[in-house]
Amino acid sequence: MYVQMEHIYKTFDGFHASSDVSFGVEKGQLAALLGPSGSGKTTILRMIAGLDRPDSGDIMIDGMRVNDLPGSRRGIGFVFQNYALFRYMTVADNIAFGLEVQKKSKKEIRGRVDELLELVSMQDLGKRYPHQLSGGQRQRVAFARALAPNPHLLLLDEPFAAIDAKVRRELRTWLKEMIRRVGITSIFVTHDQEEAMEVADAIIITNLGRVEQIGTPDEICLHPQTEFVADFIDAARYEALAAAKSCEEW
């Protein structure tokens, strides 16, 4: 397992955000943390990133316990829900920031920025500012920025929440292909069952700070282990049926 969470507990002012959370994500996998809002999925992601500290339990990345390691030294890239692009920097400067902090040479930085702009097909938009971009373009910049320092693990917090419903499906496919092409282990948070089913290799379902079930989309769909999962997925199935799709097609 590339990422391993072991018996993680976390409370905020008496609220149990995580209770005995344990799961693993294999190298190269694209995993989804799926659950209703308030189920503690973002907290888990933030703890992996080092933005929050667990009260107890171990976070392992690549076989090493990282609890005491600052987020910047965990080899991760993070895509925030609203992308958190640096609004006073151009697209190119946004992507270059992480490399500049690492004191890479100017030439190397420029090469990497061009490479990433090409990867997300935004070669001509490097001089734009974030407020001049569409939602989808911003997501692509956030993705490129997170990848710039060559992380081994990509974390995405509700990557499609800030996107128009119309282009969401298109971007989903794009992001999935991108992650495949880069071959980076990724974990994304979502509350949308259909999104998780369509994009992820593995799904971790959370509810009330606990992990309800871990499995592939098929396993979860066909063999829900708890009543909560059955309900939660059923709702999704109805939504999907309405869109003329069945569970097996996923």
């Binding site: 990133a49 080092g50 933005l51 987020g71 910047s72 030294r73 991760i76 993070f78 925030f80 829900q81 609203n82 958190a84 692009l85 640096f86 609004r87 006073y88 920097m89 920031f97 992480g98 902090v101 690492q102 920025r145 320092p149």
Partner: protein, 295 residues
């Protein structure tokens, strides 16, 4: 009359209404609406004329009543220059201290959550609601000879009350909310995400401040500094209580104006007032430039 010049910008300080003026759209063209508009324009113009323009004209005409030579003499008078120096010194000190404090406090309250946040924010607003005279008295009761730190200060030969440090302290006290008040909403609206993103990429605290936070707040910061300076230059009440009115030593410009006026030296009083008016106009221009740049 003695407080005339400070009053003009003190009224401005209350709100930052100018920037919201652009948001007002012209309403539907209805006769009734138009009628109200002109009545309101009339009322406001009249009010501003009586309260602002007229007093300013009075200041200028009275200052120049005895001719240019008398005006010049009053302005370059030794005590006037000393008072101007002290006023500027106190203003610079207050702006420096309050900029640092305002930055820290607004950053703390907008980026961290802890119990007592609201109380903290409310405390910072106290100088807005408390009479400056009381602020001055508080310092006398704290640092004066009979005050509870009086013995200690005396034993160490430190003079605060009726000395320059007291003037500076009082000025700092009455102006400390300004920078905070301007910065806090901006920082609060920005959220923590951009800073967290930068930190995750390995940026240190200073780099984050310089490259992420500062570009976001620089105009608000400058605006707060300008408001703070404006208020510091015109402060009368608190300084009046604590300074002891020692000519050439602890007299600021507004206090100097009062002394001249009480000595029936009206021309000189108005001449010195005109210095404050000029400073006020300069600040007003700076403020509008900043406001315009702030978008």
């Amino acid at each position: 009359m003695k407080k005339k010049a400070p009053r003009t910008y003190q009224e401005d300080i209350i709100g930052d209404g100018i920037s919201s003026i652009q948001k007002v759209r012209e309403p539907h063209r209805e006769n009734e609406g138009r009628c109200i508009k002109y009545v309101l324009i009339g009322v406001c113009t009249l009010f501003l004329f009586v309260m602002l323009v007229l007093p300013l004209i009075v200041v200028v005409t009275n200052a120049l009543r005895d001719g240019w030579a008398a005006y010049r003499e009053a302005v370059i008078d030794e005590y006037t220059v000393k008072a101007l120096q002290l006023t500027l010194f106190a203003a610079v000190a207050a702006v420096t201290v309050n900029t640092v404090f305002g930055l820290f406090a607004s950053y703390l309250l907008s980026k961290f959550y802890f119990r007592g946040r609201q109380i903290f924010a409310a405390l910072i607003d106290i100088p807005f609601s408390i009479s400056p005279v009381i602020a001055g008295l508080v310092f006398i009761l704290t640092f004066g000879n009979v005050g509870w730190m009086g013995e200690f200060l005396k034993a160490h030969g430190i003079r605060i009350v009726f000395a320059v440090p007291g003037v500076v302290l009082a000025t700092i006290f009455v102006t400390f909310p300004f920078v905070f008040r301007e910065l806090f909403p901006v920082l609060n609206a920005q959220g923590k995400d951009e800073e967290e993103a930068a930190a995750l990429m390995g940026a240190g605290g200073f780099t984050i401040f310089r490259r992420i936070t500062f570009p976001h707040i620089k105009w608000a910061l400058l605006y707060g500094v300008i408001l703070c300076a404006a208020r510091a230059l015109g402060e009368f009440g608190a300084v009046s209580v604590i300074s002891g009115h020692l000519r050439g030593k602890t007299n600021t410009l507004p206090l100097h104006v009062e002394i001249l006026y009480n000595e029936f030296n009206t021309t000189a009083a108005f001449a010195v007032s005109s210095i404050l008016v000029v400073l006020a106009v300069l600040i007003l221009i700076a403020r509008n430039i900043v406001e315009w740049r702030k978008e």
